[in-house]
Symmetry: D3
Amino acid sequence: RLPHLDAAGRAHVVDVSAKPVTVREARAEGRVLCSPQVLGMLTAGGLPKGDALAVARIAGLQAAKRTPDLVPLAHPVAVHGVAVDLDVEADGVRIASAVRTADRTGVEMEALTCVVVAALAFVDMVKAVDRHARITDVRVVAKSGGRSGDWVAEDAGGR
Amino acid sequence: RLPHLDAAGRAHVVDVSAKPVTVREARAEGRVLCSPQVLGMLTAGGLPKGDALAVARIAGLQAAKRTPDLVPLAHPVAVHGVAVDLDVEADGVRIASAVRTADRTGVEMEALTCVVVAALAFVDMVKAVDRHARITDVRVVAKSGGRSGDWVAEDAGGR
Amino acid sequence: RLPHLDAAGRAHVVDVSAKPVTVREARAEGRVLCSPQVLGMLTAGGLPKGDALAVARIAGLQAAKRTPDLVPLAHPVAVHGVAVDLDVEADGVRIASAVRTADRTGVEMEALTCVVVAALAFVDMVKAVDRHARITDVRVVAKSGGRSGDWVAEDAGGR
Amino acid sequence: RLPHLDAAGRAHVVDVSAKPVTVREARAEGRVLCSPQVLGMLTAGGLPKGDALAVARIAGLQAAKRTPDLVPLAHPVAVHGVAVDLDVEADGVRIASAVRTADRTGVEMEALTCVVVAALAFVDMVKAVDRHARITDVRVVAKSGGRSGDWVAEDAGGR
Amino acid sequence: RLPHLDAAGRAHVVDVSAKPVTVREARAEGRVLCSPQVLGMLTAGGLPKGDALAVARIAGLQAAKRTPDLVPLAHPVAVHGVAVDLDVEADGVRIASAVRTADRTGVEMEALTCVVVAALAFVDMVKAVDRHARITDVRVVAKSGGRSGDWVAEDAGGR
Amino acid sequence: RLPHLDAAGRAHVVDVSAKPVTVREARAEGRVLCSPQVLGMLTAGGLPKGDALAVARIAGLQAAKRTPDLVPLAHPVAVHGVAVDLDVEADGVRIASAVRTADRTGVEMEALTCVVVAALAFVDMVKAVDRHARITDVRVVAKSGGRSGDWVAEDAGGR
């Protein structure tokens, strides 16, 4: 049974008050696919131009902290560290986040929220020149700390 | 040049005060890929069980209204109508949103935000049983109203 | 059928983009019942002491503006005026709000949200001395503007 | 004296930094009175139809987490578990919430906020067909953990 | 009398529903004073290094949109354009904002909120190396549109 | 190097998960300069009239709790106590805040945010009668708890 639903199928916020405070980390990744025209506007000599990537990064950092406001059954978590970056690739940008906490539950949702909101902010920036921009392949790629043990996805990018 | 950046590359919220109030609509789509095990927990006889899809739908509706809080350069928009739904498919769920407004700027970001936050809420629900759930293929699929004209993406699903 | 649910029973934000902008007002009322001991702490010579009522009033004013963040299917509305007051009565306080807008939909939910959050803030203030404080009889008492016509509840208090 | 006001009557957030972290729970209840016509629209064969009750439940869960944003003098609390449910009765719905935390202060306000916002969302859903819907009898019915000891109200419903 | 207080001194949100929608602009300025050591960390060859100024700019843009959440008696305003910049000076940074809207009330508070939150974000960045950083001289410097007429402060900086 | 920027100059939320939970306090101060006409409207016989100062105080208390929403790189902190007050002086008001927590990082930003938002709310109240109101001299004046040791600014006012 899905833990977020009770026996009658009703949603609830799962009680974690009895879980111990431990250091936990999660990493997530995703991509935004966009046109070469857009990528040319974003970079010069291999370097980002202006604030385009900074806006996406900062949107991602802030969103990680607002996860429980967005995801109805997510717990408020003491977000203790967040990093997110965007790498320009041939057909778009790759976004990778890492979130750490010392708390009673994991931060996978915070890491995912960081990536998707950075992706939204990136699409917002480029949508006037590329209406086909696409957010794709967003997933948790690593997790450590907590009862369920550590793991790393086979297709995780490096960081 | 990207309109969200000024000549020096600095981000700003583009001035739309001189644009007319017109009715505008945007539609977006995306998918969450997950395991057959999860899909079996979500449905019985072809029907959703419990609140799983309702949580994702309501998260999406609410997020559409909070777009300017999440996307730094997005305008506050008078969101006048939002619908979002999740269809269970063979390898996951397909999410489609439609947002309408009578305002000075379009609602593509609201439609995208609706889809990605519904997707986040869905992943949150299933992550205990499927750590490989993946949000993918999120994009605007149709837009009407406003100066840039109407369009529908070739690969848009029906609704 | 309830307008907030579609034919399949799914919740959505009802499309109001085609409705005209008109001036609309709603008034709501409610009460918090509490002990004479608490009422004695709140007043001296018939006047409120300190910030107790101000905290509740300001909480109510702010909550009126945040209604669409709290009520999933409520539209963002341009809240153009809000007043709220608390009157000390024999067995508690009576709270009355009035909200005005020039917008495409009514402000009944804003008026109700104003009253209940003012009531919450009041209970928060007194709960250490009265654990039995009770919020009761919260309802819309008058509405004007908009298609459905004006009305005043028979049991509305004066203002 | 009310603890939320200082000697001069000025509001402040009471310092709880020296209190120990303990597991605490609070339960609250309330009702929304509405017409038989509405109740008939909400149920079929004793079961809820569509998302009507799910919207109210999810609104309540989310609001519990946002209590310190709404109630000016409430502390941010690590909400570790929330459940809320609506039971259809002869003359309306009964709403009951339970909130748990391991933190330095109690969660009575979170439990009350959960009930009143679920009630607001319910009223929003039915207001087009019942303008006389009324939120009533909202109160804390049980509390455990913390210095002030455990208690249960005599008129608490079961859960 | 202050318009935000009624005859009894109670705060309310002033009713602006009868005011016309017109294009309005406000500009605000302020400074953060900090040490030469900090200024050296922020610039290289006259150019900003890294995201330090971008974080403050983006914080300011977002805060302009959240003014009614922060300022209890401020109206929700359709923020239609925001620009903010930070100039490095000999003894700190000068921050200037400009906010535009087509709405029923002015945006002075939005322009001020933009400046002070950009200033807060800047102080946050430098506080580890300069505990004496100081936010100062924050004021509205120009206003246009609306009934009260246009004006520019004598000591306004250029932009 | 500024700790909030990584080696490439990119902003991140500094990881504090390994820091111990200790009781920490910060105090901040600032002033709003305004005209004698305004000061006369605010006081009668040396006492504040109406809610003017209460609105600013409550805005400040609430803003302290919302610091991580406003300041992009600030951590969510368990705000355990907040006090803020406004003293009427010859040429304006002096605002002083004190924030306490038992958490892993300090509350200087919370104390500053409390002061500047109280100042914004005060300016909002008086701007109709004094367009030259000015927020000035906002700074941290004392800090205790935490690794960096206790200190008090030489020019701190009393409290």
